[in-house]
Amino acid sequence: MNSIAVRCQNLSKAYGGVQAVRHLSLTIPTGQILALLGPSGCGKTTTLRLIAGFERPDAGRVEIGEQVMVESGVFIPPEKRQVGMVFQNYALFPHLSLADNVAYGLGRNENRPARVREVLAMVGLSDLGARMPHELSGGQQQRVALARALAPRPKVLLLDEPFSGLDVGLREQVRADVARILRQSGATVLFVTHNQEEALLMSDQMVVMNDGQVEQGGTPEDVFGAPATRFVAEFMGKTDFLSGRVTADGLLTEMGLLSQRLALPIGAPVEIAVRPDDVRFIPDVDGSARIVARYFQGVLNLYSARLPSGRLVHSYQAHTLTLAPGASVRAIIDPGHSLVCFDEHAGRVEVV
């Protein structure tokens, strides 16, 4: 049975006239990794800072481990919250060695050297305790920041865009390392990112935010497979939208008939989300779609083509299939699963 490590209820926070977070609620079960995903400026970092205690919410409530941290009239300062934080730029104390950085948060009663050794070993930096922060690479600094935050055994670990400071080549390795360390430590984790790939890869649960509000929460598979809103569908990866109409036989689109039934009356207009792997382009001189561009990605070709209506759709094709821009193709939908549809109000329509 899972207890709840963090519970936010109805959090709101405005800066000046700008509403950064509005009526946000989320819970993190103990021992789980939750990704808070959204475009920059959506309020995800503010949410993190509200939980850590660096900002005071205008309204709402934060509980950590069943204990109220913030409510009207209650405010527990950050140092009393037992929250570990890994900052975007790591914020290692430049005047302290790695070991001293890691020991910084440990109490007097603790056997400090032993805990420092233990945590440094966990992040694979046992030999570097005497080094100064500026003598480390970006990936190593990242791991020290993680070790420092984990050392006092926080009730929840917060990570703010943990991989954005690393260059692409390094990122994948560090990401794998960090995921392993987090699993090993058994910590409850909330991490903020704008990279959906990162969120899918590392989290047990994810929450997609937009404009200060939660758009959707759930397992990575749920959110990716069944986006609740058009925004989520677009944000979770390359998505094009086709307009269609409900008929007795299915959905009629300009790329043909989709045998999919919706809980909508016949004649109702819908928008259908298609991803590049749902679409195929077949070279055909009589085809009505025209290739616009090719993005060669090595293993695959990503093509975009313009439909007669003017809409663009993308498609993954084998790297052996070369189509020149301007070539005529027949564009067909071939999903092999039902596609997500939205009604006029951008709300998802259930499949019957």
Binding site: N89, Y90, L92, F93, M132, P152
Partner: protein, 540 residues
């Protein structure tokens, strides 16, 4: 041919982009400059070597040691008291919700615009033997004697109030540039705000404190005006007295000791500067720091800020106005002030022009032709920082009297002194704006078929113009405030605002000194206002 050309470019050897002639001319200027720069120290050394044995014996007497002790002790004390005033001010104006914080931030560094002798004069005019406080006490209570403010206490108070802004500015820059995540990290690791300040903030402030503190110490070492008026015998005053009593070899020896002392402090400063670099870390500060809520503490905080500003700024301004009005009432007004103003403007204008024109080739070589020789040249330029005004003046007096009587007590010799004193400042300013101009502009012009001289005139110079103008105005105002060299080297009868003020204060004609003092303060405030406004803009 073409192949060879191409290879040279690819191998990345520096492209000779000045023609041979302009290079030669440039180096000519530099050679002249180097000999002028070396002149004062060289001459002082020669002079000291030829000093009689009794001068050497004098030097090694207890009196010299006492002077060293007094000077170092004053520098140390002023540095400590400045830090005690400046650190709380910096923290309050950078990191808290102090009421009217922006206003305090602008006002607190302003005492920097008061020349030390003006500050000392106003202090003496208020608390000295014939000063306001004593007059008032005598009229009201018949008290005729006050504790003596001359000597150490007066010098300490005046110099602290004038130089604490050096520490304030450097500490505040660090405080507001510091990544707030560092302090937040400490809080999230369970440390209270106070522990966080002690274990994280203060260690990170150490380089700024050191740098600001050394600036204060250097200010005290070089200062002549305040210690002279406060009659505290540090090196500059002792040298001046020796010079006035025609004990010139003694003066030269003492000057050399002062130079050595200054060099030690400068060396410390550079060391600290280099170490400070390690302390910058991280990917850059992302967000401005959250302000600390003072709560009820804001009242003592306000009182502190108000007290410092009151004593260091409002009181002097009030005194200045008071003495001015009193002088006007008594009809004692401003003899020959217009002549002194004109002389000041003339000397400062000529000084600014020659200094910036000299600084231009130096800065140009340093930036565009980096190498061992140019680095040496740059160091040499900055090394004149180690020469206090009184030392330069002395060296040039000796040189003029013995080898160039036709130069002695002429405006050109005074200008050379100004050059020696303020060239580093000008080179620094020009160098900074030259660094802003990417060489690719010049390379683009060359690739479009312009010759180097044309490139310089059509591209570099126009881009550099704002930098040159600001360097010139900076030098202009610094020269106008300069006292000891002007006092010693000015042509006979050539009175400037600074020397007019000096002679009035020496005779305790406080009302007469008010008008030149006010003019000097107003003029010095111009670049400071500009500087603070810019800092504020960066801040917000």
């Amino acid at each position: 041919m073409q192949m060879a050309e191409a290879t040279r470019f690819e191998s990345g050897t520096p492209k000779p982009w000045l023609s041979r002639w302009s290079t030669l001319a440039l180096w000519g200027v530099v050679a002249l400059l180097v000999s002028t720069l070396l002149l004062p120290t060289a001459y002082l050394i020669i002079r000291a070597m030829s000093a009689g044995s009794d001068a050497w014996q004098n030097l090694f007497r207890l009196r010299t040691l006492e002077t060293v002790g007094r000077t170092v002790w004053l520098a140390f004390s002023v540095t400590v008291t400045s830090a005690m005033v400046a650190v709380p001010l910096a923290w309050l104006t950078a990191r808290t919700d102090l009421p009217l914080r922006r206003m305090w931030a602008v006002v607190t560094p302003l005492p920097l615009v008061i020349p030390s002798y003006v500050g000392a004069y106003l202090f003496a005019s208020a608390f000295g033997p014939r000063g306001l406080l004593q007059q008032w006490l005598e009229e009201s209570f018949g008290i005729t004697r006050l504790p003596d403010i001359y000597g150490f206490p007066g010098a300490l108070i005046v110099l602290t109030l004038l130089s604490y802004p050096y520490v304030l500015l450097s500490v505040r820059a660090t405080l507001s540039g510091m990544d707030p995540a560092l302090e937040e990290a400490s809080r999230s690791l369970g440390q209270s705000p106070l522990t966080t300040f002690r274990r994280v903030t203060l260690p990170l402030l150490r380089p700024a404190l050191g740098a600001g503190g050394l600036l204060v110490a250097l200010y005290v070492l070089r200062d002549f005006g305040a210690v002279a008026i406060m009659r505290y015998d540090t090196f500059t005053r002792v040298i001046y007295i020796a010079y006035r009593s025609f004990d010139r070899s003694q003066a030269a020896l003492l000057a050399l000791v002062l130079v050595a002392l200054t060099l030690i402090f400068l060396a410390l400063e550079t060391r600290l500067h280099q170490r400070g670099r390690y302390f910058q870390s991280g990917v850059g500060a992302a967000r401005p720091p959250t302000l600390v809520r003072l709560g009820p503490w804001r009242w003592p905080a306000l009182a502190f800020c108000g007290g410092v500003v009151g004593v260091s700024l409002v009181l002097p301004a009030g005194l200045l106005v008071y003495w001015l009005l009193r002088g006007l009432n008594a009809g004692e007004i401003i003899p020959a002030l217009s002549q002194a103003t004109w002389n000041s403007v003339l000397a400062s204008g000529l000084g600014a022009m020659t200094i910036v024109l000299t600084a231009l080739p130096v800065a140009f070589l340093v930036v565009r032709r980096p190498g061992r020789i140019t680095r040496l040249l740059e160091r040499l330029t900055y090394s004149t920082f180690a020469l206090p005004g009184i030392v330069v003046a002395l060296a040039l007096v000796f040189f003029g009297v013995n080898h160039a009587p036709w130069l002695y007590q002429t405006l050109p010799l005074l200008l050379i002194a100004y050059g020696l004193l303020f060239l580093p400042q000008a080179v620094g300013a020009v160098r900074a704006s030259l660094l802003q101009i990417h060489p690719s502009f010049e390379e683009a012009a060359r690739s479009l078929g312009r010759r180097p001289a044309q490139v310089f005139l059509t591209i570099t110079l126009p881009l550099l113009r704002p930098g040159l103008i600001s360097a010139a105005s900076l030098v202009f105002l610094t020269v106008m405030k300069e006292l000891p060299a002007t006092l010693i080297l000015a042509p006979l009868g050539f009175k400037t605002l600074a020397t007019a003020l000096w002679s009035a204060v020496s005779e305790a004609f406080f009302a007469q000194a008010a008008a030149p003092a006010l003019l000097l303060v107003l003029l010095s405030s111009l670049p400071m206002t500009f500087f603070i406004l810019r800092e504020q803009r960066v801040d917000s």
